[in-house]
């Protein structure tokens, strides 16, 4: 079934023709998802709403450019992830916690992704892991980042990704493989660079 002729496709068409009620329906439908994505990446609760406002403003002003090649949520997801990484780049709010806040033991655990023991607070290790992966994701292209996030964080399969992006499965596999290779290289460079422990 053609996406444009689905219920959601009709909703998008209405929003594209300037119907604010249709846009508000889209906001109601996806706001919770957008908040979760932002919170997962950015973590600063105070800034989550600002970024979400920015995301939906972009959706509002560029919905006319939505071409139905992907689903609406894929498109919104992409905008959200890009907005989060823009925010992190601009504000540089993420401070490395590795050296300052973590003990050597905890750092080693992050490196090896060992399960946290009772001695170390689980949240600190999680935050360090979050910081580390966000830093690495900043080193790959927008497309690669989105694919990795959809696959690893949202749990979509290669088949689903192929459907969502209108690419074939082999292309998705190759793109994911190259993205992972870049991540590994970025991790090696980061580990070697002075001043970083992870």
């Amino acid at each position: 079934m053609d996406y444009q002729s689905t219920e959601e496709g009709a909703l998008v068409s209405r929003a594209q023709s300037g119907d604010d009620d249709a846009f508000q329906e889209i906001v109601q439908k996806y706001q919770s998802k957008v908040f979760s994505i932002i919170h997962g990446i950015v973590r600063q609760r105070n800034d989550v709403e600002d970024i979400a406002q920015q995301v939906f403003s972009k959706v509002y002003f560029s919905i006319r450019n939505f071409d139905y090649r992907s689903s609406l949520i894929t498109w919104i997801y992409k905008i959200t992830v890009n907005e989060c990484f823009d925010y992190l780049r601009k504000k540089k709010v993420r401070k490395l916690v590795y050296e300052s806040d973590l003990s050597e033991d905890e750092v080693r655990r992050v490196e090896n992704t060992e399960p946290a023991t009772d001695r170390a607070p689980r949240t600190d290790v999680r935050l360090a892991g979050q910081d580390y992966i966000v830093k690495l994701l900043a080193k790959v292209s927008e497309e690669e980042r989105n694919l990795l996030m959809l696959k690893e964080v949202e749990g979509y399969s290669v088949e689903e990704l192929a459907q969502m992006t209108s690419l074939n499965e082999n292309t998705i596999k190759v793109k994911l493989f190259r993205a992972r290779q870049k991540l590994v290289k970025a991790a090696q460079r980061l580990d070697r660079s002075p001043g970083t422990v992870a």
């Binding site: 604010d20 997962g40 709403e49 002003f61 996030m149 690893e152 190759v174 590994v184």
Partner: protein, 151 residues
Amino acid sequence: MHRIVEKELEDYLSGRGGRELTSHLTNCEQCRGEVAEMQTLSGLFGDLRAVEPVAVPLGFSNRLMLNINDRKSKSFLSIFAVDPGFTRKLALASLLCLAACGGYLATQPVDSVAPSDHTPEAVMASHDVSAPSDDPQHMDGMLVTLASYHQ
């Protein structure tokens, strides 16, 4: 790295098969090392999932629409707004133009402006007495000029 890794990596990482790759990895040390690194990084993505459901703040949608309307009105007003850079360029161009005109006028000789002397003395001086005119109309005209002159 061997082609088999590219082909089966996603299935292998998600634990849904990749048997061919598994047997390849037992024999290929180089691929084994790289895939292990990829697997480690793959494990870290879990930290990007929100641990608890994030509540959408009350009134978010209203604030969003206000923000959007505000941006819309600003972008409408911006049509009439003058770019400060353009204003500076315009001012500079005007000054240069003024300076060029001033320079041109300053270089012109003062006597190039014709004197507008219409006094009877000037009229008389310009009249060539050595060549008397036989034209009676010309003579009458001169008499009228002299008669109508009041000092």
